[in-house]
Symmetry: C2
Subunit: 262 residues, 2 copies
């Protein structure tokens, strides 16, 4: 098992920034940040005392681990340009299969943090699930050891399981964010402040930390309160997109909790 | 302006329980809990040193305020049975207009806490928006004074505004809860633990406490990553309901962020 000490980060987006800072803060050496956008590479590199470049040909070959944290669509082209031979290389994608790395190196894996990141707010990894996959037991052991340095929640997850986790994360995170966005639109369109909803949003997320989602849902569809649903749908009729979303989700909640009524 | 000291709670569900305990903890006297289900009335009454009854004819007429915290659909029948003359009466509904109380008393209003409640976990009201409406300036002043005893976020809100707040709360809370439920179903159907998503869910809600929802959304639809969306939709094809929800929301996110592409 190889002990990982020196890391090259490829990418300078929100995942790259959060991972680089997490490892840097734990005493790892970030040798280099590579990004197609030099300014982004520089900004991240300076915060973790690394060198930086926008040319893959200038990649530093002295690292123990190369972390590819770029958009899914950019991975194939990127790895076609990298030749890292026997180096350990991981990507951080929820969707891309591990074996995409097979032609770049003979030591590879996945290091997928199940979380939503921003560049503007670097977060602590202690409770973030880190999903690990590797092409050999030795590489798996190295990546697990590394992951445990920053998180108390390290899981070995296959590419197939990771895809399922990612789909469920789209519902739990991306789609709930979009529900917040719709709520904010309805409020601001009516000269009301989104601030009014913030304690409710936080509490709704806190509830499912301890209870099953099915036990936390409230509201008109959960109560099968047809007259309130109709009133809401009448209100939303001027915006067919919102009406459709309201209707589809309410109908599904009713089906879930009152299966015999439909 | 009437100073409110003694309160009768009508209802013993989650809103009734949370309000009764909040006032009790601040030194108010809960005179009585009335509920059609005697056991529920008793359980709540015992926790706030109140008497209890399941008969509206036994209502204690010595209170300064009567809080109706029952399901929306139960309000009309309930108020047809109550004759409280000049007593101050409020309901706690997000949807029902204030004037439904007009025939029960000549002092009435609304006391709507914009939050999702459980009986199993009584919560602190300090940051919960309390939406107040009243039929006279005097009653409004009494209710504002009362509300400020338990919350730092008291707002005067018309029946029309309250309806809009309620619709937006359905999206922000009920529908995001349903997104959590779908995520949990996908995971458990595939022998993965919902625990994996909990930090992500909490973080997603935390992000919009400081940033606009539009700035927090991530994921395939936000990136307009058609190939990942297609892959997810293929995976969900076996469950037409989930597929429809995934499709409708993803399409709307794409429309929102890439309006010229459609």
């Amino acid at each position: 098992m190889q002990k990982i000490e020196k890391i090259v980060i490829i990418g300078a987006g929100s995942v790259a920034c959060n991972l680089a800072v997490a490892f840097y803060n734990k005493g790892f050496t970030i040798l280099q940040v590579l990004s197609r956008t030099l300014g982004n590479a520089k900004m991240l590199a300076e915060s973790v005392d690394a060198s930086f470049s926008d040319k893959y040909s200038e990649i530093d070959l002295n690292a123990d681990l190369y972390i590819i944290a770029v958009k899914d669509v950019a991975i194939p082209e990127l790895i076609s340009k990298l030749s890292l031979n026997h180096k350990l290389v991981v990507h951080t994608s929820g969707t891309v299969a591990m074996d995409i790395l097979i032609n770049s190196t003979d030591n590879y894996g996945v290091f997928y943090p199940l979380q939503t990141f921003s560049k503007s707010e670097i977060i602590d990894f202690t409770h973030i699930p880190l999903c690990i996959e590797a092409n050999t037991p030795e590489n798996e052991a190295s990546l697990i050891q590394l992951a445990k340095e920053i998180s108390g929640n390290v899981q070995v997850i296959t590419s197939g399981q990771r895809k399922i986790l990612h789909i469920s994360a789209v519902f739990a995170s991306n789609f709930s964010s979009y529900m917040y966005l719709i709520a904010e639109k309805i409020l601001t369109d009516n000269q009301l402040s989104f601030d009014m909803l913030k304690p409710l949003i936080l509490r709704t997320a806190e509830k499912v930390q301890k209870q099953l989602p099915a036990d936390t849902i409230t509201g008109p569809a959960r109560r099968n309160d047809i007259s309130v649903i109709e009133e809401h749908e009448n209100f939303l009729a001027a915006n067919p997109d919102l009406l459709e979303i309201y209707h589809v989700i309410s109908e599904n909640i009713q089906k879930q909790f009152y299966p015999t009524k439909k």
